[in-house]
Symmetry: C2
Subunit: 523 residues, 2 copies
């Protein structure tokens, strides 16, 4: 909190890297997690839940490094209600200038039944674990999971215990996305009125979007007295996801007249981080998504009717500039120089050193030779499509023949650990044939979970970004590549995913980088 006495300040707690990243298929690499954490820190997020340190070696390393690199944000890790989880969490978050341990237990009848604890036994466990966390860290958050389905008296009792044991934030999760706004506001209000010591801690709200009301529920909880909103970028998260950061932040800004609370988030950073999270998670944002969808602002729709533009204020309550969408985003072209590229990169939120600029400029020129206009999205794709010389598998060349005359044929030449090999395979269409050729050169049991093509800009000469998600023994790896040739982009994305899978296998042995423990393992 910038000012602990400011009762109108709502803390933004982002859990994109924990609850968001745990959604099936949204797994991010270590570097991607560091990048997203840095963006969250820079945009003014108060608390970053960076992961669940005991869940896997990868989670532990990510939380540790995010803690070490943190600037202004408080770095938080998740821990179940046991001493080993809490110790492991502290080992990771202790490196941050500001840190937090977040420990939780499921308190509803359904969740109590699984570890088979009586109400009294669970109460004792809560006292013990929260005390332990507080002895390690002066900032402790405690959550009664499935709070909205927990008996009222018991909920009050365990919250009081957690506060007495030293919790500084009490989070009330609507774990199954079950609540509605009136209920959400009322629950927080009654808890604050009822539980002894409630006025000395911050109450937090953690909503899921199963019934489409996560944003309204979070804001209602603030009206009821909560002063921390847990949320994710793009509403990423399991099932229908979590409260979307961009929605609560922009709603508070736009309707400050009836919701007189404010956050510390620089809203002009929203669009950039939204795009990055969509890309690294492989979860695209739908056109009609609030705030960050392609159509969310009328002027972005591609149709510029005179009448509409004239009456713009009649149909728009937010300005595109507020979320970092520049109204006058002029494309670059093949005559654009290095300075123009650097300016554009800065506008898009990238700071690059001279060497990096040199490398990007070479690829920019290649692209500009092929495309008349190079749009912002092209440049963002360029920034994130660079290969890595240390990759085990590299594409050398490929040739595909396809059409209606018979099966597609693909010849792929690759360098595998320095050795040049090639194979030709047939398949159902150019992508299938190409993937078969790659598998002929590098056999694998990895299962293709997802294959996606996004045209990042308009026109037939658009760059296509292809995402490929592979799964092997519970390990998931996502590869991406952008190219004006969809088939080449597909091959590179597939090889990219394989390289990531190899790194994971090597680092940790078979299966080790899969999340060994889920927060849903209740025993």
């Amino acid at each position: 909190m910038t000012n602990a006495t400011d009762q109108d300040r709502v803390l933004i707690f982002d859990t994109t890297l924990r609850d968001g990243e745990q959604s099936p298929g949204a797994t991010m690499t270590h570097d991607e997690k560091l990048e997203i954490a840095e963006l969250l820190d820079e945009m003014g997020v108060d608390i970053i839940e960076a992961g669940f340190p005991i869940a896997s070696e990868g989670d532990f390393k990510a939380v540790t490094e995010i803690a070490q690199r943190s600037k202004n944000s408080r770095i938080c890790g998740l821990a179940r209600a046991n001493l080993a989880d809490i110790d492991r969490c502290w080992e990771a978050v202790k490196h941050a200038g500001k840190n937090r341990i977040h420990t939780f237990i499921g308190t509803s009848p359904l969740h109590r039944a699984i570890p088979n604890l009586t109400m009294d036994e669970m109460a004792d466990k809560i006292h013990e674990t929260v005390s332990h966390a507080r002895n390690l860290c002066e900032n402790v958050q405690w959550s009664p999971m499935d709070a909205t389905r927990t008996e009222w008296d018991y909920l009050c009792r365990v919250i009081e215990i957690a506060i007495k044991a030293g919790a500084t934030t009490i989070n009330i999760p609507d774990t199954v996305g079950y609540t509605a706004p009136v209920e959400s506001a009322d629950l927080i209000k009654r808890l604050i009125e009822t539980v002894p010591g409630a006025d000395e801690v911050v109450f937090a709200t953690h909503c899921h979007n199963d019934l489409g009301m996560a944003t309204a529920n979070a804001l209602a909880a603030v009206a009821g007295g909560a002063r921390q909103i847990e949320c994710t970028i793009n509403g990423l998260g399991e099932r229908a996801g979590n409260t979307a950061l961009e929605e609560v932040v922009m709603a508070l800004k736009t309707r400050n007249d009836i919701m007189p609370w404010h956050t510390g988030v620089d809203t002009t950073r929203i669009m950039h981080i939204s795009r990055r999270v969509a890309t690294v998670s492989g979860f695209p944002v739908q056109f009609n998504k609030a705030i960050v969808g392609k159509n969310a602002f009328a002027h972005e729709s591609g149709i510029h009717q005179d009448g509409m533009l004239k009456n713009r204020e009649n149909f728009e309550i937010m300005r595109p500039e507020d979320i970092g969408l520049s109204g006058t985003s002029l494309p670059l072209g093949k005559h654009s120089g290095r300075a123009a590229l650097r300016d554009k990169l800065n506008n898009l939120g990238y700071e690059v050193g001279d060497n990096q600029l040199k490398d990007i400029f070479v690829r920019f020129k290649e692209l500009a030779d092929r495309k008349k206009e190079v749009f912002d999205d092209d440049i963002i794709a360029l920034m994130h499509s660079g290969g890595d010389d240390e990759d085990h598998l590299q594409l050398v060349s490929m040739k595909v023949v396809c059409g209606t005359g018979g099966p597609a044929e693909s010849t792929v030449e690759m360098e595998i650990d320095g050795k040049d090999v090639s194979a030709t395979e047939n398949g159902d269409g150019p992508v299938d044939a190409t993937f078969r050729a790659i598998r002929a050169l590098y056999p694998t049991d990895a299962h293709l979970q997802l294959y996606q093509v996004h045209a990042v800009t308009e026109g037939t000469d658009a760059q296509a970004t292809v995402s490929v998600r592979l799964e092997e023994d519970g390990m998931i790896a996502t590869g991406q590549s952008a190219n004006t040739d969809t088939v080449v982009a597909s091959a590179k994305a597939y090889i990219n995913a394989l390289n990531r899978l190899i790194v994971r296998r090597e680092k940790a042995g078979p299966g080790a980088d899969a999340r060994e423990i889920s927060y849903k393992d209740l025993t």
Copy 2:
């Protein structure tokens, strides 16, 4: 209303075909509109807003034919506050067994300024137009557009005038998605308490999702006394879209304990219509979309962790079966017979005649020969990928060579109005080269607005559905095609879009099928 005295019954007013279809890029063809209307009718939607009859010849024809074919739903058309609009609307909806004229005017200061009417002049206009509508049709809905930004006293005054003039439903639109639940409930409640005659009409709520609260706002309005919710499938609509039908209906069903109202919607039809609207509009649904997203139900995520399955009721508040997602959707294979295919089609909500079954079975066999397993989504794609012999442009054959060695080369052979022609072109990637070859054979100025690839099923042998959206002089045409070869699907989708554009040009002369009038033309 099935029972006009049932105060717990909430009417569902679907505007997918009007407010949804008007969102930039979501234009549907005549046949697609008829199909969606039929699905809405069958699922128990009370009122279908089928279009804006005066907007274009196409809108008029669609509303007319939907009215003629309607079974149980009431068919509604939109009309601005003038006699010509209302007459045209009546000409279209009069064919339905149950019909409605929906007329509106913008009542907020911003909207009053455009036609430059004083408060009194606008009040007179409302009286005149609503009376006229009521003289034509016994069921009239009136909306004060931008109600949430209209002065309270004036809002009460004009609603009273509309009721006295014969309106049977008063709709309160939150045109810019500006409101919040507490405000939404309070507004309806105070209007019903204040406006004379309010107890004799149905109040409706029409919300937009700009701040992510459309669902909560609509449900709050019901708590405040509204008994009609305006919504669209998948929340389709301009900017961030409208209230999503599936969200309000499932929220009322799931939380009937605190929201004791019910609708007439058969929720098991939700998934099918959601997929159809996503396909025909070209607006995909994001994975983490509430209710209908691919990840909305944990078991659909592709990862089946033992612990999670065991504790399924702990983390799911709705059953997939409730929205028509069958848990045991066994794929068909090449040994599946005609009866199995018919069963599957019936399960998916399709009723086919013997001739149609024969045609689909041939294409099913072709697909089954190429794919090991044919999934539900494959079958849905099959159902909607049939060509039309009457098309002006037909693909005869194509061959593409692409890769890293140089520009892609595509040779396309087409039949254009019965004449065989072929061309070879180079391009950036196989799709660009193919589109160039098609344009060489059939030159056009149509601008490619959107190019999208969806893999409809998992695996490299997945069928890809490609959507292509073309724009020419304000006319928009979307083409789609599904094929295991992405490049072939792209060519067919492009040709499909061109065929649709040709039909539009021919039917109406240049530019005529573009929406000539928008409901935003306020003068």
